[in-house]
């Protein structure tokens, strides 16, 4: 059987074996103990047409949300991505390149990531951003580990209004090492309530806007965290219209960058954002791209501060990250270039407007908002007890309604988290209200 990705002809193989000086391929595997050899119980190879048809068949039985009214976000957002974004990002010179170890032939990767880092700094109001983490949740875990390294303390306070999956990942990263995580609650506004913070605490983590969509008062959070590090989890699009955490004195800003042009893809791959102050840069995890010059003085780019990394410091490295999500960072950079400041502001403002309109209409029909705090593009509202069943049924009408929160927040009773984006139209909202009758 010929395989399209393998170029060897029988003649090539013969010539190569002769050159090596062996009589068969099997001779090359002579070090592999015979007792452990076994063949694979898998189907035999297939042609592209058959494989494509099979996968197309599978994918067609999934709900394609392109065709749906989507009022669910909770960390992954359906946004409009201009055609030019994906078309450029998918260029094979980007997609099939490796980590840019050889700077001279990787200037495309390096410059694009350098520009991405700049854009993240602009959005978050921070001084330095790395060239990506896996996702928002692992970025948060790494941020807290960095705070532990910087302060020598081993306790972190995390708002319960931070995405539950982020808190779970944080727990996985921290608990085996005996680090302590305490949860901080919220009040009727949906914002965090901070008591006096003890000397053992390395950092306080809040989300902005938080999981309930409520905009945290970062000035209050900074006042309360004078003696600890302040870590803020963000949704980057919101920062086009909200004052960025950097301007409130945040020490680390992390977040999920999926809404910057990356498809939903079942929640991944996505983009972990990580930004901090320059003074912490040597304890920062992940790859950093810097500007420098070449032998002739031309502006060029290269990976920098690699002395913090696993391939040099091994067991003493600041983190174990090797592959990151560079391609997702590229998509985000192209998206932000296309949007520009005005475009991104409009996307954010439209999301804000649509969410507020939806909330108003729900209120008119007797569905009360759960929290009184100002919200960005998501909000929690009270729903009847049978809502989770109705929510599933709505899928038949091509509506992915607000997310029932009973599993994540049993203490809130029957509530759901609604979300609007710049793609949410008045028609979408009416279709949903109809389904809620």
């Amino acid at each position: 059987m010929k395989h399209p990705y393998i170029p060897h002809t029988e003649e090539d193989i013969r010539e190569m074996l002769d050159f090596i000086g062996v009589s068969s391929i099997d001779d090359l595997f002579s070090e592999v103990p015979v007792s452990t050899r076994s063949s694979l119980n898998l189907p035999k190879s297939q042609d592209e047409f058959t494989v494509f048809t099979h996968l197309k068949g599978i994918s067609k039985r999934n709900a394609d949300l392109e065709e749906y009214t989507v009022l669910l976000g909770a960390g992954i957002y359906k946004r409009y991505v201009p055609s030019v974004v994906y078309d450029l990002a998918m260029k094979p010179e980007f997609l099939t390149a490796y980590t840019p170890y050889q700077a001279e032939i990787s200037q495309g990767t390096l410059q694009a990531l350098f520009e991405y880092q700049t854009m993240v700094c602009e959005l978050t109001g921070m001084e330095v951003a790395n060239s990506s983490m896996y996702d928002g949740a692992t970025a948060l875990a790494e941020a807290v580990l960095m705070c532990f390294r910087l302060t020598g303390k081993e306790k972190v306070l995390v708002a319960r209004s931070v995405h539950s999956e982020y808190r779970e990942v944080l727990g996985t990263y921290l608990k085996t090492r005996g680090f302590r995580i305490d949860e901080i609650g919220y009040d009727d506004t949906g914002r965090v309530v901070l008591e006096d913070i003890d000397d053992e605490t390395a950092a306080v983590v809040v989300q902005y806007p938080n999981f309930f969509g409520v905009i945290e008062d970062l000035e209050y959070v900074r006042k309360k965290t004078q003696n600890t590090m302040m870590v803020v989890v963000v949704e980057p699009v919101s920062l086009a219209i909200l004052e960025p955490p950097g301007n409130f004195g945040a020490d680390v800003v992390v977040g999920e960058g999926q809404s910057l042009g990356i498809p939903m893809w079942l929640g991944g791959y996505s983009l972990g954002i990580f930004a901090t102050r320059e003074k912490y840069v040597r304890q920062m995890p992940g790859r950093l791209i810097g500007e420098t010059v070449d032998a002739e003085g031309n502006t060029s780019y290269t990976m920098i501060l690699q002395t913090r990394e696993q391939h040099i410091r091994r067991a003493k490295a600041t983190s174990n990250i090797c592959s990151n999500h560079a391609h997702a960072a590229l998509i985000a950079a192209v998206y932000l270039s296309v949007m520009g400041p005005e475009g991104l502001k409009e996307v954010a403002k439209r999301s804000y407007d649509a969410a507020h309109y939806l909330q108003e209409k729900l209120e008119e029909r007797g569905f009360r908002k759960k929290f009184s705090g100002d919200f960005f593009s998501e909000f929690v509202f009270e729903v009847p007890e049978d809502y989770p069943e109705r929510w599933k049924k709505m899928m038949e009408k091509k509506i992915l309604g607000p997310l029932p929160l009973e599993r994540m927040y049993p203490e809130l009773g029957s509530v759901a988290l609604a979300c609007a984006t710049e793609m949410t139209t008045k028609d979408d909202i009416e279709r949903f209200l109809e389904a809620m009758r």
Binding site: V32, K91, T118, Y134, H163, L266, T302, N320
Partner: protein
């Protein structure tokens, strides 16, 4: 020129449709006051900018990329096409499980196929990269012993030739890392035996190892490891050499991580996303992260393993990467995967023999899918370093090998041609290398000042790290500058 330098106030590459809902005002105290300084460009500007950047990149689609331990094989176009089918692309992780059945089916089947290839009993597809898989594996090791109350096991043994991520991942979980010596390029079994005691939690190995050699004492190593009560961890970076020949599970490994972006041809994307599934033997299945995908009659369900280490990433993992690996395995099939290993090993041995005529190859015998050469002699006689050789290779329009790894070989060049390169390409690559080595003796300065024909000349890495510039700091337009924030 950066995209910021190309920016001109008032240009737009995007417009939105007419508004259909009324406007609401954001409370004054939250309104962004700090200027948002993103580039302002037209659509053609954006297209030309990124096209120009693409032209400054080397990639597998451009030519051979023989980075040792990185398995930069060709990435089939079908992979991209299927990962972007609407039913895979436009799905939300929180939509009802009933409407995700086919995504779950794909994950379940992929898991089964990867278990078959590795000889493991169950697998998580969640880790986002190989090193993330290592971290997951080490968390499983920790929880396994904690669960038994065996808390003395605080050490993880790794060979001195190991990938740097191995010790980094083990120490992230709080293990103390102990280095094991190599002997003739293999794990020194006597040194290993000396270190194995009841404080050892795991031994991390890759087989074939980073020198491209098959650890022929692997069964002995597994026995010694298990006899002392420790677990044996398999770094899957080098799996490309043995698929269809031998399974890590059959060699005695308890935990395996894979690099789907390497072995299974999902592209590397300039540094990611990858995907690092972790497979385990029966006795560790309960410790896998959640959610796991299980099949109950006709239905696929997300489950939480009984003694789970927890969640290691949000949602389900790098799903499109999983789709690409699934499509690749179906394309190759059992015969194709075996052929991959055979041709990868054939290519490496062929190139090794060609290169050993002009560069020292420190370890005898057949190599697997990669091998290490040393330019130590060239350096001693000419002052030309391995780095200079690598830079001069760039002038010839191809990518150099991995340099200065593994650390135990001086002036190392680590070469992995992969199975997707033809005999002609390998012949040409060997010719280029030979020419460059010859040049080192005849005209060392040409190498020391290389590269000469790349988009930029030798990049000043020292300056870059000594006086780091992390972000664009050029001048914004006059109109912008007046309103610049802090």
């Amino acid at each position: 020129m950066t995209i910021f330098d190309k920016s001109k106030k008032g240009r737009r590459a995007f417009t939105l449709p007419e508004k259909s809902v009324p406007e609401y005002s954001l409370p004054e105290r939250f309104v962004r006051r700090m200027p948002l300084r993103l580039p302002e460009v037209s659509e053609p500007d954006v297209v030309r900018h990124y096209t120009e950047l693409a032209h400054k990149n080397y990639a597998v689609d451009v030519g051979i990329y023989p980075l040792g331990s990185c398995t930069m094989k060709y990435n089939p176009k079908l992979n991209e096409k299927v990962a972007n089918l609407p039913g895979f692309r436009n799905v939300h992780p929180y939509q009802p499980e009933e409407t995700l059945q086919d995504c779950l089916q794909l994950m379940y089947e992929l898991k089964a196929m990867l278990c078959e290839i590795t000889g493991m009993d169950d697998m998580t597809l969640q880790p986002a990269a190989g090193a993330h898989g290592e971290l997951t594996g080490m968390l499983i090791v920790k929880k396994f012993f904690d669960d038994r109350g065996d808390t003395r096991r605080r050490k993880v043994l790794v060979p001195d030739s190991a990938h740097g991520t191995n010790p980094a991942s083990a120490s992230m979980v709080g293990f103390e890392v102990v280095e094991i010596k190599s002997k003739d390029g293999m794990v020194d079994v006597e040194d290993l035996r000396k270190h194995l005691d009841d404080e050892v939690a795991a031994v991390m190995l890759t087989n074939p190892n980073t020198l491209g050699l098959f650890e022929r004492d692997i069964l002995k190593i597994a026995e010694l490891t298990h006899n002392c009560g420790a677990l044996l961890y398999y770094d899957g970076a080098n799996l490309n050499a043995i698929m269809g020949k031998v399974k890590p599970g059959d060699m005695g490994f308890d935990i395996v991580h894979l690099n789907l972006h390497k072995t299974f041809s999902t592209p590397h994307g300039m540094g990611g996303p990858g995907s690092g599934p972790v497979g385990v033997k029966r006795h560790l299945v309960d410790f896998l992260p959640f959610p796991n995908v299980e099949k109950e009659e006709d239905r696929y369900r997300l489950t939480v393993p009984k003694k789970t280490i927890g969640r290691v990433r949000s949602f389900f993992g790098n799903f499109p990467v999983l789709v690409k690996a699934y499509s690749y395995i179906l394309m190759m099939g059992r015969d194709g995967l075996e052929k991959v290993s055979e041709m990868a090993v054939l290519n490496a041995n062929y190139l090794k023999k060609k290169i050993s005529r002009f560069l020292r190859v420190p370890y005898d015998g057949f190599c697997m899918h990669e091998f290490v050469a040393s330019a130590e002699e060239v350096f001693k006689k000419t002052g030309v370093r391995t780095l200079d050789i690598a830079k001069r290779i760039l002038d010839n329009g191809v990518h150099p090998p991995t340099v200065y790894f593994p650390l135990i070989v001086p002036e190392a060049l680590m070469i992995e041609p992969t199975e997707t390169e033809s005999k002609e390409t390998l012949d040409r690559y060997a010719e280029i290398l030979e020419k460059v080595v010859k040049e080192a003796f005849e005209n060392p300065d040409v190498l020391k000042n290389a590269p000469h024909r790349t988009p930029v000349r030798r990049v000043n890495e020292v300056l870059a790290s000594r006086k780091p510039v992390f972000r664009w700091r050029g001048e914004y337009e006059a109109g912008d500058r007046n309103q610049q924030g802090t």
